[in-house]
Subunit: 339 residues, 4 copies
C-alpha cells in the first residue's frame, strides 16, 4: 500500500483523491491546498487524511511515499522538483511542464534518485485506447497511415493556457503512446475569437518518418461537442467516438490497393465487416493508479513515464512555435537538439 499525498484540491484533485482511496493500492495520507474551502471539502470526503495548507508539511511527512500533483501548469515544475528532492515518487498532471528544459530536468532528477516520475495522460488508460493500443501492437491495423482527431466543444475557456495546451495535449499523449515514435515536424495555426483570451481554435498537422500524418482540430468555440478520431491503417481502420456511450471503438475491414499494372493504374477497394469490441468498464484512473503502484514497486518505468511527458511537452512547444510562424512547419529534431 502506497501512502500518497494530493497537491491541489480544486477541479481534478478530488478525482485523483477519490480514485486513490478506491484503488486498493494507495491510501490518502495528506492533502495540500492553500484554500480553506478546498481543505474543508477534502475533510468531508477524506476524514482520515491530514490536511495542510503548505506543501512542505506534506513533503516532510514520512507516511507519504508519492505525491499526485493537480495544480495549474505553471506550478508543475517547482512542485514536482521539490517532491523528487524530498524523495517522493511523482504523478503529475498533463502537460508535465511549461518548457522542454524543465521537462528534461525532472526526468534527470527522477533518474538520478531512482524515483518514479509519471504523467497523468489519463486517456492512455481508458478502455478505448487500451483496445486501440492492442490492435496496433498486434498488427491488426497494418501499417499506420494517419490519425485524424476532432476535439471541439463550447468552453471551458482556460485563462492561462491556450486550446493546444488544453485539448491537443490529449491527442499528443495518445499518439505518443500508440505510435512508438516521435514526430519529425509539426505545423500549427491558431486563432482567438474572444478578445483578450488565449487562442481558442487550432489546427495541427504532425509529420512522422515514413509518411504517417496526424491532423488535429481543437476548438473551445464550437456549437456541438465532438470527440472523434479516425485512425487509418493498411489493413484496417478505426473510428473512435468518445461521445458514444457504447461502441466507442469501431474497427473497419476497409481499404484500397493499387493493382500496380504499368498502363492501367487502377485502385480497388476492400469493403468488409465492421466490429465493435465490448470494452471493459474499468475506470481509467484506477488502471492508471495501479500502473503507478506497479512502477514504484518494481522500479520499472510506467506506461506514461517522464520521458513520455517530455516528448509531449516537446510537441506542444513545437506547435506553439509553428503558430508564431503562421503555420510554418517546425522540425522536432532541431528542437530536440536545441533543448
Amino acid at each position: 500500500m502506497i501512502g500518497v499525498g494530493i497537491i491541489g484540491y480544486g477541479y481534478w484533485g478530488p478525482n485523483l483523491a477519490r480514485a486513490a482511496a478506491e484503488s486498493g493500492v494507495a491510501s490518502v495520507q495528506v492533502i495540500a491546498d492553500p484554500s480553506p474551502q478546498a481543505r474543508q471539502r477534502a475533510a468531508l470526503r477524506h476524514p482520515a487524511a491530514k490536511l495542510v495548507s503548505d506543501v512542505d508539511q506534506m513533503l516532510s511527512d514520512k507516511t507519504v511515499d508519492a505525491v499526485l500533483i493537480a495544480t495549474p501548469v505553471h506550478t508543475h515544475f517547482a512542485l514536482a522538483m521539490a517532491a523528487l528532492k524530498a524523495g517522493k515518487h511523482v504523478l503529475v498532471e498533463k502537460p508535465m511542464t511549461e518548457t522542454v528544459a524543465q521537462a528534461h530536468e525532472l526526468v534527470e532528477e527522477a533518474a538520478r534518485r531512482n524515483l518514479t516520475l509519471m504523467v497523468d495522460h489519463t486517456f492512455v488508460y481508458t478502455p478505448a485506447i487500451r483496445q486501440v493500443s492492442e490492435l496496433v501492437q498486434q498488427g491488426e491495423l497494418g501499417d499506420l497511415y494517419y490519425y485524424d482527431s476532432t476535439r471541439v466543444n463550447l468552453g471551458l475557456f482556460q485563462r492561462d493556457v491556450n486550446v493546444i495546451w488544453d485539448l491537443a495535449v490529449h491527442d499528443f499523449a495518445i499518439m505518443d503512446h500508440l505510435f512508438g515514435q516521435a514526430p519529425v515536424a509539426i505545423s500549427a495555426c491558431a486563432a482567438s475569437f474572444v478578445a483578450g483570451s488565449p487562442e481558442n481554435m487550432a489546427h495541427l498537422t504532425i509529420h512522422y518518418d515514413g509518411g504517417m500524418m496526424a491532423n488535429l482540430n481543437v476548438n473551445w468555440l464550437a456549437p456541438v461537442k465532438i470527440r472523434q478520431t479516425l485512425i487509418g491503417g493498411s489493413r484496417k481502420m478505426v473510428v473512435y467516438d468518445d461521445m458514444q456511450t457504447s461502441e466507442k471503438i469501431k474497427i473497419y475491414d476497409r481499404g484500397a490497393t493499387s493493382n500496380d499494372k504499368p498502363y492501367e493504374h487502377l485502385v480497388s477497394y476492400r469493403i468488409g465487416d465492421m466490429y465493435a469490441p465490448a470494452l471493459s468498464s474499468k475506470e481509467a484512473l484506477q488502471t492508471e493508479l495501479q500502473e503507478f503502484a506497479r512502477a514504484i514497486e518494481s522500479g520499472t518505468a510506467p506506461l506514461t513515464d517522464g520521458l513520455g511527458g517530455l516528448r509531449v511537452v516537446e510537441m506542444l512547444a513545437a506547435a506553439s512555435r509553428s503558430c508564431r510562424l503562421r503555420g510554418h512547419p517546425v522540425d522536432l529534431v532541431t528542437l530536440k537538439e536545441a533543448s
Copy 2:
C-alpha cells in the same frame, strides 16, 4: 428556351442532360461524345437530340446557344475556349481549368464576346447552402470566425487529379460564395498511401483578412463517409451535415464573450436554442440551370461566374504549391500578381 449541347456523356454528363431536359428553360439539341457506347446510352434517354462524336459538329450547330462541358479537367480549357470562340455560352464542370493562366484567358475571352461563362459549382445551388448563404447575408451569424469541413470517405480514387482538386474544390466553391472575399494564404499537406496514386489525404488551412480561418480535411481513404461542416460566427453557429436526410442545417444560438474587465478576465457562454429550418427539396441542378438561363437572357453575371471559377482555381493552385513546400503557407496575393 435555350438550345444546349452537352460535351461528354460519361459520369456527370447524363445528369446535366437530364436536368437540362427537365428544366423548362433549355432543350437538349446536341450531345457529343467520342464513345459509341456513350452515344447509344444518350440516344435512349434523349431521342430528339443530335448525337455527334466530334465537338466541332456541335459548335457549328446554329440551334446550340450554350454548351455544358462535362469532360476530364485537362480538356476543360481547350473545349471552353473553342466554344466561346464559336459564340456559345459555356457552363463548365469544376474545377474550371488546370491553371490560373488558363482561367484568366477564359474569363477574358467571355468578357470580350459578352458571353456567359459559368462554372458548375453545384453545392452553391443546394438548398442547404442557399440557406446558409441567406443566414450569412442577413447577418444572422454575426462576424464569421471559421469554416471547418470534414469531407472524407472510401474512394473513388481519381486517376488524374488528387483529393484536393477532387474534394476540397467543393469547399473552395462554397467558401468563395459564402465569404465574399478571397483568402490571403493557404497551407496544405497531402499524402498518398496507395502506391502510384495521386495524394488521397490532405489537410488545408486557409487564412482570411481579419482573422477568419478555414480548415479542410479531405480523404479518399477513410472508413466512413463524413460530410460535416461547422461554421462559427460571433452571433450564431451552424452545423451542416450533408449525410443527414433531413435537418442538414442546424443553427445554434451559442457563443462566448469576454467581460473585458482588466483584472479578472472571464469568458461567459451563451447556450441558447437550436433550430433546423425546413429546406426546399428543389434539385440543385435545376436551380443552377435556371441561373444559367437567367444570366444568358439578362446578360448579367451568374452566381458562380468565370471569376468565381478563377478564384477557386487560384486556391487550388496555391494549395498544390503549399503541398510541395511541405505545408509552408502560400500567399494568394503573390500568386495573383504572378499569374
Copy 3:
C-alpha cells in the same frame, strides 16, 4: 429469357419495368396502362415494348410469358386471376389480395395450372433481410424471442388502404419469411387523426406458439422517419436500421441468463462484441426478378410464393378484425378454419 408484361405504369410499375429490363433474365414485351400519359412515359423508357391500354391485349400476346401487376390493391385479384387463366405466370404487388378467400382462389388456380404465383414482398430480397435470414437459419441468434419494429414517417397517406395494409404488410412479409411459422393470434389498435382518412396509426402485437412475440408500430403521422427493428434471440440480438446508409444490420452478442438456483434467483448479463457485416449492394428487385425467373424455369416455388402471400393477407385480415374489436386478440387458427 422470360417475356414479361407490366400491368400498371404509375408509381411502382416503372421500377418493375426498369428492373426487368436490366435483369438479364427478362425482356419487357408489353406495358398496359389506361392512362395515355403513363403510356407516353413508358414509351420513352422502353421504346421496344408494345404499349396497350387494355389488359386483354397483353394477355393474348404470345410473347408474354409472365405478368407483373402493379395496380391498386382492389384490382389485384381480378387481374391476377385473368392472367393465370390466360396461362401467364404472375408476380403481384403486396398485399396479394383484399381478402383471404381471394388469396386462396389464386393459390389454387396457380397450382391447378402449374403456374408460378409470386408476391412482390420486396423487403425479403434486400441484402439486409437476406443477412438476417441467414443468421436465423444458421442458429446464430438461438431461439427467437421477439421482433420489434417501428416503421413511422410523415405521409404518404393512402386513400384506399389504411396504415396496416400499407406499412405493417412489410413486417408481416419479413416475419413470414424469417420465422417459418404462422402466428397464433394478433391484437391491433388503430386510429385516424385526419378526418375522412383511413387509420394512420396502429400498434400490433403478434403472438406465436412457444412464446415468441412481435410488436409493430406503424404511423403515417410521425415527425421523423424511423425504420428500426430489434430482433431478440437467446444467443444474439439484431438491430436493423434501414435508415442507415451503411451498417444497416448490427449483431450483438448480448443476453441474459438465470442461474436457476432455488433460493437466490439471479439474472446475469452477457455483454459481448457487436459486428456489422458488409452487405451486398445488389438491388432487391434484381434478386427478386431472378428468383421469379428461377421459379418459372424450374417449376418450383419461389421464396415469396402465393402461399406466403396468402399467410400475409390472413395476418392483415386478423389485424383488421382485432381493430374493430378494439384490440381484442384474434386467433389466426379460427380465421383459417373459417376462411
Copy 4:
C-alpha cells in the same frame, strides 16, 4: 428548512439524501436502514445525520418533519402509512403502492391529517418534461393525438416487479402529468424470456377519451438502450430522446390536413422547421425537493401528489390484469368503481 428522514439507503436513497442535503430547503436529520454497511456508507456522506436501524426511531424524532421512502415496493404502504400516522409528510418512491386499495388508503389518510403525500415521479421534474409540459399547456402542440414511447435496454432485471412496474411506470407518470386526464382502457401483453424471472418485455396500448392513444414498448432484454418518445399533436410534434446529451427535445412544425372535399379526398402535409430549445441544467431531484417543500409550507398539493400516485397505480393494475387476459383491453372506469 424542513427536517427530513431518509428510509432506505440502498440504490436510490443516497441520491435522495444527497439531493436533500444540497437542496437548500431541507436538512437530513435521520437515515434509517437495517444494514450496518448501508449505515456506515451513510455516515461518511452525512456525518451530521442520526443513523438508525429501525424506522420507529425516526418516526418518533421531533426534528423530522417529513420522510423520504426509498425501499422495495412491497414495503411502501406500511412505511408511508406509519409515517403519516406519526404526523410526518411523505415523499415515496414510485410506484406508490402495490395495490389500488392501498393507494386510496394513503391518499385518504394524508387528506384526513392535512399532510403532504407526494410520489417520486422523478421524470416529471426533468427539464425535458418541464419543457414538453409547457408546450402542451400553451397549446403549442394543438390537440394531442398520441404518445409513443420506447424504453428498452439490457438489464437490470428486477426480482420482485416485472418490466411494466419497473419501466412503464415512468411513462404512466409522465402521461398522467401531461394529459390531465385518466385513460379509459389499457391493453398489455408481456412475456418472460428468462426462466423464473418476472416478465421482461411488454407492449401496452392506452386509450383515452376523444381518441388519443399511447403505446409503450418496455424491455429489459434489448441489445441497445433506447429512450425515445414521439408525441403527436395537431399543430406540432415532439421527439424526446433522453439518450441525447443535448437536444433532448425536438419540436417539429409538421402535420397533415385533409382538404375535406367530397369527391377528391386529399391529404396535404405541412413540413416546417424544427427547433430544439435550450433546456435548464437543473437536476430533477432539486426541482422535486423544492416542490415538496413548497407543498408542505403552503399546504397545497404538489405536482405529483398522492392522487397522481393513485392514478399511476390504477394504470399499472389495469395493465397487469390485461396481461393475464392475454391483451384483452381492461376498462379503467370499471376498475375505479370496483376499487
